[in-house]
């Protein structure tokens, strides 16, 4: 397939794997930020090919994984209302809230629809003026422009029965949270290409400098990821700390000015809870006061729905790279894809489900007690 198969060429991929192995003089722990990148790594088995040279720690970049239980419970509440058509990206439908998921709400008569774009949700609102149409606006900087556009258009077109349940988070605060943790293991980052396509590179220079970690903006195809890893490993081996752009075909240094402007008009920075991590100050987006009329939380009075995450789940440790998923005491026993305790087991892009799905047939050996302890802290890269 044109524009895709070029980035999946097996011979080039094998050459890149060889080069990474030859370049790395010791095992390096890298983190890919984005769930889409995790998806490719797991699908293609890249982590397996690089065993011993590069350990990929799967970052908190799956929007489904990090949407807090509380927002899911609020979504379930809204979707259950007879006057509401609840619209969402498809993969949120199976995420369990405290007692059910959106699919079960639908089976009980709730109107839940999958859309590919929030603008489609807006169109549903236009065609159903007697219903309240709510869109579940989740995701990182990648989905923020389209979600901002839907809200903006709702105001421009005067569509009063449209609102959004916002659970937007942004990448840099999560990187700060991971890197500033005392037991951080991450020595280099593959930054999320599509986030940077919107936001540009400028936020990452200060992070690289402050924590002395190489950051390479990376795409999503196998060759993108392998090239990104190679670029990080080269920096680490040379003791360098820079921001590089592997994904230049999609990411201009300045990002997308029009998209940023729109996001900035509709949203403002806000404190956000992350599933498994907890609250991170100024780590997400909320609607600006001018757009408060489109905030489903206010419109439907959802502030009273407050949910705590289950205590047995160590998703926070996994998402920060402190705990390997299969070293968790609940892994594969109390927590499985069919009955997940936490979000990383819910989403196949989540680290726990990725381990469970891809690794269980070859890593069927029982986990020993020793492996359950947090993994050792490695020296800061390039220090």
């Amino acid at each position: 397939m044109k524009y895709l198969s070029e980035y999946r060429d097996p011979a080039i991929a094998r050459a890149l794997v060889r080069e990474i192995r030859e370049t790395a003089t010791r095992p390096w722990a890298l983190m890919e930020i984005c769930g889409g990148q995790t998806h490719t790594i797991v699908r293609q088995g890249l982590d397996e090919l690089l065993e011993g040279a590069v350990e990929m720690i799967h970052g908190p970049g799956c929007p489904v994984c990090v949407t807090p239980l509380e927002q899911i419970d609020r979504a379930l509440h809204l979707a259950s209302r007879p006057d509401v058509i609840f619209t969402s990206y498809g993969d949120m439908l199976r995420v369990p809230g405290s007692d059910c998921d959106l699919l079960q709400v639908r089976a009980r008569g709730g109107q839940v629809r999958v859309v590919y774009s929030p603008l489609d949700a807006l169109e549903i609102a236009r065609r159903n003026p007697t219903k309240e149409v709510v869109f579940f606006a989740i995701g990182f900087e990648t989905t923020a422009p389209a979600n901002a556009m839907a809200v903006h258009q709702a105001r421009v077109q005067g569509i009063p029965n449209f609102s959004v349940l916002v659970s937007h988070v942004t990448v840099p605060p999560a990187m700060h949270a991971i890197l500033s943790a005392p037991d951080n293991r991450v020595q280099g980052f593959l930054a999320a290409g599509h986030v940077c396509a919107v936001m540009g590179l400028e936020e990452y220079g200060p992070i690289a400098a402050r924590y002395r970690v190489p950051i390479v903006v990376t795409g999503f195809e196998p060759l993108d990821l392998l090239e990104g890893m190679l670029m990080v490993v080269r920096q680490l081996e040379a003791g360098e700390v820079r921001v590089e752009n592997q994904y230049a075909r999609a990411v201009p240094t300045a990002g997308n000015a029009a998209a940023r402007r729109l996001v900035g008009e509709v949203f403002e920075l806000a404190d956000r809870k992350w599933r498994g991590i907890g609250a991170i100050p100024r780590s997400g987006l909320a609607l600006r006061a001018e757009y408060a009329a489109y905030d489903a939380e206010a419109r439907f009075g959802l502030g009273g729905i407050v949910t705590e995450e289950p205590a047995a789940c160590r998703a926070g440790d996994v998402l920060r790279g402190r705990l390997r998923p299969n070293a968790c005491p609940m892994f594969g026993t109390g927590c499985r894809p069919e009955h997940p305790l936490g979000a990383p087991m819910v989403s196949s892009e989540g680290a726990c489900a990725a381990y469970f799905n891809a690794g269980r047939w070859r890593a069927a050996e029982p986990v020993t007690e020793g492996e359950r302890a947090p993994l050792p802290v490695l020296a800061t890269a390039g220090a």
Partner: protein
């Protein structure tokens, strides 16, 4: 951290608002037999009601049959869960028939490559053929919705009659019922088929280590055709359903291998991935698929990329998966490729003694991943 989103307002971006189209809502499409691979959010919902996921062909469907029906029907032939029941009549000649039944619900009723009538013929005769039975007789029951155009009814009846004649089966009994407007999706069709079984007895539990896995044609065409039509995605020009009667291919396979075919299954609901999982489970063997060898037409691959779906889980209506000894592979492929339906037949994997019950896929790059049954339908991924 800087307020990187506090940017000047400018709402003058021109973005076209699309017409109302909801994303592939596979749950609203029990009949399209769609499902998905590494999608986000995969727990099996508990729940006390039927969800559309129960119709997906994945784990939920299996649990529905196993837990809610089988205990009450308590029949050893049924419990084998073959594509069709194989029934010795007990006469001196040892006559054995195969019998099966299948319900068809698909929207739209007519699509490139067929309609609900041809589907109802092909689906049932193929279930017979997969057990080695020559299809002979069909019955058909039609549930029609008040308001359906009679011209549509007749068009479908005509193409159904033609499909039956082409498949060499006689439509020997039938029934019609009409339900109120809003209580049916235009037309539901149920067909029951009877065929004659000889010495050729492929069965789901007979796959053996050392077998090759053969796909008789390119995959994913039926599911993606229906999805494209439902969502107005505009791939229709390039896509048509593969709906076809497979008995001629089965005969060719039988004759080319002296009947040495261990297992056959048409890769319908749940796609190739679910089919090979069912065989791995029934035969207690491991299966290794070679991703690079699996024939995915460019239009299917492109549509799946856009929608975040995995073609391995997309429904087919004219592709069989055959398990036969490696020594027979060349003869089998040669015989299949003579037939127009089997022109692209190829070996896509092999049966191994390791990891019984589990399907593993080798990527072109050399990595591996597990290909599991999905809990429910495939949901589009956000990232």
């Amino acid at each position: 951290m800087r307020d990187h989103l506090d940017l000047p307002a400018n709402g003058a971006l021109a973005v076209a608002t699309p017409g109302e189209r909801t994303a592939p809502d596979p749950y609203a499409a029990a009949g399209t037999r769609m499902a998905a691979g590494l999608s986000c959010a995969v727990p099996v919902p508990g729940g006390d009601r039927v969800t559309l996921g129960h119709g997906s062909g994945g784990k939920l469907s299996a649990a529905l049959v196993r837990d809610r029906f089988l205990p009450h029907f308590a029949d050893p032939t049924l419990a084998a869960l073959g594509d069709a029941a194989v029934l010795p009549l007990g006469d001196a000649a040892g006559t054995t028939i195969a019998m099966t039944t299948d319900a068809f619900v698909v929207s739209p009723l007519e699509f490139p490559g067929g309609d609900i009538g041809t589907l109802a013929v092909h689906g049932t005769v193929n279930d017979l053929a997969m057990m080695g039975a020559r299809p002979l007789w069909l019955t058909a029951a039609f549930v029609l919705e008040e308001g359906l155009e009679l011209a549509v009814v007749e068009r479908i009846a005509a193409s159904m009659g033609a499909a039956a004649r082409a498949a060499g089966v006689a439509l020997v009994a039938g029934d019609t019922k009409v339900v109120e407007r809003g209580k049916g999706d235009g037309m539901f069709v149920t067909t029951t088929g009877v065929g004659l079984v000889g010495d050729f007895r492929p069965a789901p539990h007979r796959a053996t280590p050392g077998d090759v896995v053969i796909a008789t044609g390119p995959i994913g065409r039926h599911g993606m055709t229906i999805l494209s039509l439902r969502d107005g995605l505009g791939f229709e020009g390039e896509l048509a359903s593969d709906s076809a009667a497979l008995w001629p291919l089965v005969e060719a396979l039988r004759d080319a291998t002296d009947g040495d075919v261990h297992a056959l299954r048409d890769a319908t609901r749940g796609g190739v991935a679910s089919t090979v999982n069912e065989i791995a489970h029934a035969s207690r063997v491991g299966i290794v698929l070679d991703e690079g060898a699996i024939p995915v037409p460019p239009a299917v691959a492109g549509a799946c990329e856009m929608l975040g779906l995995d073609p391995l889980y997309v429904a087919n209506e004219g592709v069989a998966i055959a398990f036969l000894p490696a020594a027979r592979a060349d003869a089998a492929l040669a015989a299949l490729r003579v037939h127009p339906l089997g022109r692209d037949a190829c070996v896509i994997g092999r049966v191994v003694a390791e990891h019984p019950g589990m399907v593993v896929l080798r990527t072109p790059i050399g990595g591996t991943r597990v290909v599991d049954l999905l809990p429910g339908d495939q949901l589009p991924r956000i990232c």
